[in-house]
Amino acid sequence: MIELHGVSKSYKVKAVRKHVLNRLSFTFPRDRNVAIIGPNGAGKSTLMRLISGSEQPDEGRIIRHVRVSWPLGFSGGFNGSMTGIENVRFVARIYGADTEAVIDYVRDFSELGRSLNLPIRTYSSGMKARLAFGMSMAIDFDCYLIDEITAVGDESFKKKSQAVFKEKLPNSRIVMISHSMSQIRAYCDCGLLLTAGGIWYYDAVEDLIDAYSASMARSARKS
């Protein structure tokens, strides 16, 4: 589905170079939903931006055989001075989707009503998440990249996103970052564990969660 070949990525933080990924080679299994978990700062979001192609690796190659979404986060990519509708229209245009159909879908899904005609900067983070999530679900992707977004919102929004996912799952795969183990269990079949010490792949989601708990316990003891 998505292949990573010798991918490295580092950042400069206050003149100190921080290596996030070091020659990572990995092929995301076809027809499976993959979780990405790990402590804060382990490079989960960076990995996701690399997978999506919104960021380039320092070294190595990433090959996508399918249509991959942008990383669905809370805020990314919205222009604050433009209204919700204008932002949606822009993204629909980029992906060559039917603009009006996407707007109708988002209007219906997000339940933002008249707020859609207000500038994004007036939105709360929950409203932004509804908009971002609705917008991405309105466009068909083979693989959805989800960066914690389903963790926000009230109960009804969570139920709604779950229902939409159920609709999409027969045809689309997901790669998901989450700190919620119940969510990982609900959506994912396997996963990657990112820690400061390295990256491991687990073929079964329970093994993944066990390994994560163990590594968290170890680092808690150390500190």
């Binding site: 990525k9 580092s10 960021e55 001075s81 060559g96």
Partner: protein, 257 residues
């Protein structure tokens, strides 16, 4: 290949519309103002020069002579300035993978060039309406001159953007460096009438050639002895090459800053 071109076209079209919206505001007359403001400010300058009794340095119309200079220089300046800050605007947009680093650059340049085509169309039509100028004598030449000036501005703006991403103070230095352009680009005099000694220095300025070329396209017999079309074209291509190569070389550095 066709799919790639379709995607490129889609992305550029979406970005141009977004830039239009971001630059000119929500109101429909926002864009109208963007066209009226430069046209009107040129008109005011012309009115002042006319009031102090200046004779047109060439031809019968001071307004036409002045406008061919000022608007060409403004096109160049606008491209140089607006493209300089393009990478700041990039950051959020790169969330969407179909948008590549250079797309915002192209979209912004297209928007500015189209806006200036409209500004010039409005201004020159206005002059014709008031009987202050005739239609351009060599429309093809005028269009080539406009396109070359746009490329020159694009190259300069791209180089500016790359330098700014490496050195924040360039914002101010660039302003100082481009300020004298109003005086050394032949905006209010005919370079061909200047003494040889002055021309030897001024002819290094590519914007001077841009102004000369635009006038050669508008007037029947401007007969510039200074204009060197291949010089301005080479400078434009060189700057564009340096800018785009610089963008490519600093791309990873920018994304991991």
């Amino acid at each position: 290949m066709q799919a790639v071109l379709a995607l490129q076209f889609r992305v550029l079209a979406a970005l141009v519309l977004r830039e239009t919206r971001a630059t000119f505001g929500t109101t429909q007359i926002g864009y109208l103002w963007a066209i009226i403001t430069p046209a009107a400010s040129t008109a005011v300058l012309v009115a002042i020069f006319s009031a102090i009794g200046r004779q047109p340095p060439f031809g019968a119309s001071l307004a036409l002579f002045f406008a061919t200079g000022v608007l060409t220089l403004e096109l160049f300046n606008k491209l140089g300035n607006s493209l300089m800050t393009v990478f700041d605007a990039n950051k959020a947009l790169l969330t969407y993978p179909p948008i590549k680093e250079t797309d915002v650059l192209f979209a912004r340049a297209i928007l500015i060039a189209v806006t200036y085509v409209l500004i010039m169309a409005v201004f020159f039509s206005g002059l014709m309406l008031f009987g202050l100028a005739g239609p351009p004598a060599h429309p093809g030449e005028l269009m080539t001159a406009f396109a070359t000036t746009s490329l020159l501005g694009f190259g300069f703006g791209t180089v500016n953007a790359v330098i700014l991403s490496l050195w924040e103070s360039w914002r101010h230095v660039e302003k100082i460096l481009t300020r004298p352009l109003f005086f050394v680009s032949g905006v209010f005099y005919v370079p061909s009438y200047l003494p040889r000694r002055a021309i030897e220095w001024l002819e290094w300025n590519p914007v001077l050639h841009a102004v000369e070329w635009v006038r050669s396209g508008y007037y029947v017999n401007y007969d510039s002895t200074v204009l060197d079309k291949s010089y301005i074209l080479w400078v434009a291509l060189l700057l564009t090459f340096l800018g785009l190569a610089g963008e490519r070389l600093t791309r990873i550095r920018r994304s991991s800053a």
